[in-house]
Structure formats: structure tokens, C-alpha cells
Amino acid sequence: MRYAMAVDTRKCVGCSDCVVACQTENNVPSGFCRDWVVEVTDGTYPQLEMEIRSERCNHCINSPCVRCCPTGASHFDAGGIVLVDHNKCIGCGACIASCPYDARYPHPDGYVDKCTFCSHRLKKGLDPACADVCPTKCIYFGDLDDPNSPVSVILRQRKSKTLIPEAGTRPQLYFLI
């Protein structure tokens, strides 16, 4: 089982609903966010093009954050999701420094926090909160090992990219272009 997420940049309007929904679902403290929206504009007026992306932890296969954690608090869970065990985390910050996507943040309670693909929802057969709320339905999620899951289907139909593939982390967050 390999969980993955695909975001359709053609449909994403940058409304940031994914950010608020994640915040309420996961009680993310005020001033912090587990996911965010990036807007890229290129060109000179009026020859312009724009890409909008909803980003979060990529739950990489070759994840540097799991590798560098001295206590094993950062670990792989079912389906390849990268999680942080709060009771093992010492708050050293190595994982934060090791992430090329700057996806992690120091939680005020001391441990390190980040997107969990809403693992507590996955256990109940629900989608992550961001995918569930997105008004443009541009976030697809599922098991890559299941050829009929929404994410497998859409990745077959559309061209996609990942961010900083050259960093060698093998991210599992795809952007449909």
C-alpha cells in the first residue's frame, strides 16, 4: 500500500480552503500551517501564465527526515505515510532542517509537527480533510497500489510533476499540469 496525493493545478484557484480545513480538523495552532498554497506567475504583461499549487509534506519514499531522526520519532506508517511520534520526539529540529520542502514546523508544545495525510481519517476510510473540502475537487488521494483509486486513475490520465525531484527524496505528492 502506498498512499499518494495529486493536486490538479488547472483547477486549483488558490482559495486556501485546504489550509483552513486542515487547521480545524487537526487543531493546528494559530500562526502555523501544515499545508499552504503557492502561486507562480511567469511572463510579461499581457503574455502571462500562472500555476497554483496546494502544497504539504510530500511523504517521500526516500525521506531525509526519517533518516536523520535520532530517536526514530519520525517514522513510516502504513502506506508509507511519514508520521511523528510525539512521545519520542525530543524537539531537536534535525528533521526540520533536513526537509527540502520546509514542510515541518516546531509545534508550540515542543514536538515537531506536519501533515499526516489525516491518518486518523484514513483509518476510518475517509479522505484527508483537505481533499474532502476542496471546492474545486482538485485534490485526489488514494493508494497507488490500487489501480482504481482516484489518484491512480488521474495520474494515468494526466501529465504530472513533483517538486524538486533532483533532491532525490521521491515525493508522493504529484501536481497535475
Binding site: C15, S16, V20, N27, T41, Y45, L48, E49, S119, K137
Partner: protein, 745 residues
Amino acid sequence: MTNRRTFIKISIAGAGAITLGAGTIKAMDWISKPGNGESVKVDLKRTPTYCEVCFWKCAGWVYKTSEGRIWKIIGNDDDQHCSGRLCPRGTGGVGMYYDNDRLKTPMLRVEERGKQVFRAVTWDEAIKYISDKMKDISSKYGPSSMALFTHGSGSSYLTTLFKAFGSENIAEPSYAQCRGPRDEAFFATFGEEVYSPEITDIRDTKCLVLIGSHIGENMHNGQVQEMSDAIDKGATIITVDPRFSTAAGKSKFWLPIKPATDMALLLAWMHELIYNNLYDKKYIDKYATGFDQLKEHVKDFTPEWAYGITTIKPDIIRRTAKEMANAAPAVIVHPGRHVTWYGDDTQRIRAVAILNALLGSWGRRGGFYRPAKLSVPGFALPAFPKPARTWQDAFPGKFPIASSPVSNALIDASIPENNPGYQIRGWVVNGTNLITTIPNQANTLKAIQNLELLVAIDTMPMEITGWADVILPECTYLERYDALRITPHRKPGIALRMPSTAMLYDNKSGYSITRLLAVSLGLKDYFPFEKQEELLDWQLKKVKSSLEEMQRIGVKNYEREADDLYYTDDENVSFPTDSGKIELYSKYFEDAGFDPLPKYTAFEEPMEGFYRLIYGRAPMHTFSRTSNNPNLTDLMHENSVWINPKVAKEWGLVSDQYIWLKNQDGIVSDFPIKVRITERIRWDSVYMVHGFGHKQKLMERCFGKGASDTQLITKVLVDPIMGGTGMRSNFVTFITEKSKQEAAL
């Protein structure tokens, strides 16, 4: 109050004794205890509501933790407005409840030691003060001297109250400051308005044409969802906008039009469709009148002519006309929503309506569908007294086409120097921050100075409350029942709002407030139910439902009975116009003394060193309503002014620098605004999001953040047809920190 009003910055000290409800919320503790979503015990019981953060009113479910704190709000899957997905503001509605800067107690303006302050009072005191004053105004000047400015769920009760009181001066600023021109334009053409939510069949369209509309940044939930569906189905989007909006970023054609010239483009499109026989001849022959006059009228409006005015190349105009025609009838030339731009707006939207008629999209799949609204009986009330005077008696002959009272006319009628037919002496302002809603702030403030009574009903201490005599703090939508949501849509449907949690402060619901006022004014008979839920149950039983059922399901959709969603081929549609047909040539306008067919008017252009001020929305905010919402200020806590890189270079500006804006009348923004240097804006314009630059210190998250565009909109181009206030003819220049210091020397 005969003394000149001062703006009272509500401070915690001035608010007197603040009574707190069952849960005291500390400043930083606005959200449930942090931790894993896993570790928070949730209360699986959910309560239905419909959102009040914007007018779309999506139905949803409120979930709480086992400790009774609101955990999250998600959409109701059965709701046609949102299909189970709320927008960021609806999801962030939690923050509205927990915002500890909320109004917590009724307040009364009193004078203490020569200074005007607010004193916390009981509800009884506040209500009595208001009803005494209203009776006083009524006896001295007549009940029509009371005006109501309202927006949101409370409107229906206050409307009943005012009509019972004897005044029909009930203005929704969303009419003359926003959608009014388009409703009148479509009304004149098709005999029907475009409604809220708009009856655009975007999810099945093949071509969506947006004239300035910025769907995606304007987060009208259903519209954004359907636009996404349309993109998935391969629909073409054509965006006409001087700014590279989000929608432009997803468009096949983006027409970077010169501001204020849209009319020329629309007329050229009409020319193209007619003279190349691209229009829906069968549809026009069957359903429309005035085609020959229209054809003659657009004879000279060629794409070449339009090019000279709009800077859009002729072949693009031709190609986009073809694109629309190919998609017809599954094409939408979107009527927009906020269309009060230059004062000729009713005519501009008339052009949009005519285009839609030529393409045959009205009443067709992928165009505009026929809405169905459930007929829910209201409880029989005594007849309303006939008002001695209507709003039109204040300025006879003005705005003859307006089908709704014009807010700015009522404001002008409050100023004696304007010599109105009669003067408005008292305002009740419900759920709308008039200070930032109505352009030409100086005029609004002048009107306020002449009032004998100003009541503000609000959840937050917005600017209007600082000018009020009485502030009535309503609870948020999460704490109350409200009228059933009965809106037109593809199927008739209703939604229930019920309280999900106890009231945090000494608040009351809109219904309770209005009923208390009614009782105090001797109008109890118009509000026979003391408890709103009893009225709701009575109504629901009339439509084969019940309060109990609605509490369980939240939304109920019914089958269409009267007619089909779209016109069928052999249907003989009768339009609710004078002629019974679609009126391309509007005799209705002609008889009132206005152009029966739209014409192009040239408007003022910015002077040297000045740039046209264009404003718009951000998807994470609903202007003042969410300015202080902690969930949403986390996303965006200030606006920025978009400046083209060429212009920035001329001025030596750098990104993230703060500057002040000064308009053509010398008004300087109170607060500096952050510079965003971006290619997305034209060199003759600047852009900013509306709803920032707040002046109330008690709102700690939004005070002083960003700049207010309303403050800079001092020149208002009033639409003579229906009173709409055109706001896009204001120009600004920049004042940097350096030039401010130099000026001070």
C-alpha cells in the same frame, strides 16, 4: 442627540461591565486544544446550519468535541449550493464564534465629562431607548423617516418590523452598491433577475465568458465548483479583465482590456454575431423582439472600431465571438455580480443580456437554467399599513427603474442640504458596515451627523458601531435559529439553521432582537411566535416536513413541479416582460427616458502620475465580515497594492515596501499598504482587495492592517437608471515614507 457625533473607539474599559457566558475564551485560546486530530474526542452528534459568512448560504454540519467546543464545520452533501464542500470562509466560520473581539453586550452612547462614550446596558434598556426614539421620530416626522439598511439573515424579520411600523425604506446595499444594475438589466430584457445564487448553468457550459468577473478569487462557492467541473469537461473560458485574474490564468482567451471600455467590446461582439449570422436565429425569431433595431444599432460597431477603444485586436474579437457561437447555446456571458463600475452599468449589463439572448443561452443547458423555488407559506400576519411615503418620494423622479430602495438615495435623504422631499431621521443598520460599504465616506458621515437615531446590529465592533447611538450585539449564526433558507435553484430546496452551541456572551438572535423591538413598539401581532423554532416547525409541517426531520437531515430538496429545468424545443415560452418576449430593444427604458439600446460612453482616464484604482475580492475573506476572523487572518491579514513592474521601476518601489495612497481629491489612506510588484496588473491601474484598513482598535487582528479602498473612492458615478454607485473612476498616486518626510519639512 443634537450634539455632533464622535467616533467612539470602543475600548474594553468603555464597554463597562461585560457579562460573559458559560465559556470564557482567553485571547489566544480561540481554537480547540492543540494535539493530534486523533487525540481530540469528538462528539459524533452534529447539528445542521447554513453559513452566514457570505450570501451564498451553503448548508453544513457543525461538529463539536466532547467538551462542547466547536471542532469543525463541513458541508452538507445534499445541499445544491455547496455539494458537501464549504469554501474557506465557511470552513473558517469557527473563528467567527471564537473571535474574542466580538460584541459582548448591548451598548448605549452617553456623554460623560464632556466626552461621548459607550456604556454597557441591559437589553431592556437598549430596546426601550430605540423604541422610544422610533416612536418619537414617527410622531414628529412620520414612520417613513426611519430607514433600514440590512444584509443577511436578519433582513427578513427587520423588514417585517419596518413594514409593520409604516416604513418601506428598506435598503440592501447589495442592490445599489453591487448587483442592482444587472438585476434591472436582465429584468428589462428577460423579465427576470439573475437571482442569488446566480442561475448560471456553469457545470454544463461549453464556453464561459467573464466580463471582469473574477470567479476563483471571488469565492462564490457554487460558481467556483461548477467552473471546476466545466474545466474538467473541457469548457473554454474567455476572461475580459485588465488584470490577470485567477480565472484569466485558466482561460483559453484572456482579453487584457483597457479599463472602462468593456461596452465597446460587447457591442462589437453583437456586431460580429449578427452580421456573420452566428446568432441563434431560430431562438431570436421565436422568442425576441427588437432584433431589427438592434441590428441597425450595431451596424458600425465593428471589431476594428472596438480595437481602437479597447486595445483588443480585431481578430481576437472575431475569434472569441466565433468561440461563443460554436458553443451556443451552452454558453454563458456571465452577468457578473458587483457591476457598479462607471454609472452606465445597467446599460452595460443590458449588452450582456442581449448577447446571451443572441446566443440563445437563456433557458438552455449550459446557459441559464430555470430556477425553482419552494413555496413555503408564512404565518398569516395582519396587513401592513400603507406607507405614507416611499423612498422615491424623497427624490421624486430619480432612479425610476429601481425596483428596490436605493441605499445611497436614503443616505442622501438624511442630509437636509440636499432638500429631499422628506428627511430621513433614523437608521437601523443590520449586518452591514456602511462606512466601508458606501463610497464617498464623507457623505455618509455627514448624513450620520444629521440623524436622531442610529442603531447598529452587528456581531463585531465594525466602524459603523463607532457612530451608533445603540449597539445591539447579535450572536453568530452558530448560536441561533434563523428563517428557513428558501432559495431558487435547479430543484426547490430548503435548509435549516439551528444553534449548535450555547451563546458565549450577552447576545441575542436577530429574531429575538426584532421581536423585543416589536413588542416594545406595540407591534407584537406581527411576531406571533415567541420562539422562532415553533414558527419553523409550523412552516415545515406545511411542506411535508418537520423541525425534527430538518434537524436530522439539514437540507431537503423537492421535485420540480411547475416546469422543466430548460426550455424544450416545442415549448412556447412566455417571458414576464411587457411584450411577453425577450426585449432586445427596451421600450421600458425608452419610456423612462433612457437609451433603449446600450451605447458606448468614454470615461475619464487617469492623469499623469495617477493610476486607476481597481478593487476586488480574495477567496479567503468576505470583506469586513471576516477581517478579524482568526482562522482567516492566518491566511491573509492585510491587503497589498498590485503595481506593474514598469511603474514600480519609475517610482523606485521595491516589493513588500509600505506606501500610502492618495487619490485625485487629495484623500490619503489612513494606513500604509504593502506593495506587490507583479506583472498581473496593467501599467495604468493598481489593484487591491476590498475590506481592509480598519480603524476600530478593539479588533486587534485587523486594526490598521492594509489600506481601505473605500476611503479612496470619493468620486461616485451614479447610474441614473437605478441609482447604482459606480466606483471605478478613482485614481491614486503613491506616497512613500521618504516623500512623506519631505512633505513634512
